[in-house]
Symmetry: C2
Subunit: 343 residues, 2 copies
């Protein structure tokens, strides 16, 4: 399969995040995409191609227009106030505060449009966001054009980004934009299968009231795992989307035996749903040595994930999400793809 | 008038907050209360007394029980995970995320029960919170007992704390708890006048649907000033509270001429409301040299504030809130009190 990769991601570097009461260098760093790309080339998965440039039209189908506009202006507004380090929010509009007025200062807008201090801007961040989006859309176009599968090597990732907020290293929800683009270009029913360790809260939020896009998430229990405030089993969709959202929260220490059972169940949902296309939010932070996660998948398990998804027999778009054990990130991520291809 | 002061505040020290994309030592530090206390003694305002110890019953009248329980356990839960630095949240339940499930891990609970990373726990924080509450209630008891005025030298401050969240250096909303206690102990109508530079969002949230407690706030425009997401003029109360909330957001650079006009208007509201008691959330970060604020009040203006409040002719409880220009914090805060006493 083809891999789409944009060099623009490299400029999104050196950013910090708030964790454990400290500001620490982000685990989400450029080497992640570089190692995955190197592994793609090492195993000869297929060509690594630069994506086409896309406008924001497709993104605007699932994201708030004001939010997208903010993403393009955030760093410049931050720098204009004399800041040189990572642009991070400091206050959030939680319950008891208003969400109906978009504030005008950059400090306030960062909070208004985010869920945490884990999606920080550096000078090259916006170009990286756009390059990542370009990868997702170009790969989606491939799949819509008849290829069995394609790999969008997105960085930054996307699945925590909601319709109008960033968070958890994510800005534009690449998988959601791609799923919507596929809907708008011939697919009547799209399934999103999120196998990242963390619940894809943004993806769920975006499609929660939609019956045409099934969202399945296998992830760490939100009672103890980021993003904490979404991802429970009783979240089954609303309105026209009732029944089109499935969560599989799993406890600390889950190994492939239990994890694979959840995957089997989710695949059954996708078959019953009759998806025309499958979009996989491909995170490999389920790995046993991931520094911020607590599942126990081994490198030998990732090809099995790909093989199980291949059994669905549907055009499949892989969109890269998380994974922070960088030494094995290439082996694990590309393992899913070679497993999908049956080799 | 009597001043109530608890030494327990000193243990709430060395905490950091997120500001400008950095973790910086909090501007809210022990010397603030020490300098105010020293000035109280220097001008001979009256005795400085230790407060009585109070249970959480009065606080539970305006705060969520789970939240109060969390405050008592937060540091120990944080330390049990091997943390030594300030306990700070990292993710918040904004729109699109759930607020109906209280998570179980400390990282998640810190986010669930906060609006920012500006109310951090250190080992001595909870004792300081309780000491601050004790000051507010003991001073309220004084006023209810017939004294014309009393000063609760509270630290940490309280006006940003909502019914179920902390933020902006605040944990328990001392002024709100005191106002409720006054309601429960003979006052039919209570007015809260918040003159801190920042909007007292917690106080507003707590009483927003109540017609028996008038809340008036004079503060920096929330479009550009913390707490950003509350404090607009169209927030006039709801239900039984309709008309019992008044906001006076003012722009950068406001001097006493404009600020005093807002105070006059607020005092008119308090008179019309027929308050039996006035609770003043006394912040002095309106000062021209405050390091985090943008009004232009001078030290000569603070006695005028006290004199204007005295003209209301009602029993008055002063509850200390913000103010970060520490060199002048005593002169300014105590200036309001001596102005009130007409000397
Ligand atoms: Zn993840
Ligand atoms: Zn303040």
């Amino acid at each position: 399969m083809k891999t789409f990769y944009s060099e623009a991601h490299r400029g999104h570097a050196g950013h910090f995040e708030l964790a454990g009461g400290r500001l620490v260098p982000c685990f989400e760093k450029p080497v992640r995409a570089e190692y995955v790309r190197a592994r793609v080339e090492e195993v000869g998965l297929g060509p690594v191609l630069a994506p086409k440039s896309w406008s924001l039209d497709a993104a605007a189908r699932v994201h708030d227009a004001g939010y997208l506009d903010f993403l393009g202006r955030a760093w410049d507004m931050w720098a204009a106030e004399g800041n040189h380090t990572t642009a991070l929010a400091m206050t959030w509009p939680v319950r008891g505060l208003r969400n109906d007025i978009v504030p005008t200062s950059i400090e306030a807008m960062l909070g208004y449009y985010s869920m945490d201090a884990g999606a920080g801007f550096m000078p090259g961040t916006y170009a990286a966001i756009r390059g990542s989006l370009d990868c997702a859309l170009t790969a989606a176009e491939c799949v819509a054009g008849g290829e069995a599968a394609a790999f969008a090597l997105c960085r930054p990732p996307g699945h925590h980004a909601g319709s109008a907020f960033m968070g958890g290293y994510c800005f534009i929800n690449n998988a959601s934009v791609a799923a919507q683009w596929l809907r708008d270009n011939g697919a009547a029913r799209v399934a999103i299968l999120d196998v990242d360790y963390h619940h894809g809260n943004g993806t769920q939020e975006i499609f929660y009231a939609r019956g045409d896009v099934l969202v399945c998430n296998i992830h760490g229990d939100p009672n103890t795992e980021y993003p904490f405030f979404l991802g429970h089993v009783d979240e089954t969709g609303t309105g026209a989307g009732e029944g089109a959202n499935a969560n599989y929260p799993l406890p600390f220490g889950t190994d492939f035996e239990s994890w694979g059972a959840a995957l089997d169940h989710a695949c059954g949902r996708i078959e019953a749903f009759g998806a025309d296309v499958v979009v996989v939010s491909l995170g490999v932070d389920t790995f046993e040595r991931d520094p911020i996660s607590h599942f126990k998948l081994t490198s030998a398990d990732y090809p099995k994930i790909g093989a199980r998804i291949a059994k669905l027999g549907r055009p499949t778009l892989f969109v890269f999400e998380g994974g922070y054990a960088v030494d094995e990130i290439g082996i694990n991520a590309v393992g899913v793809l070679t497993g999908f291809e049956g080799r």
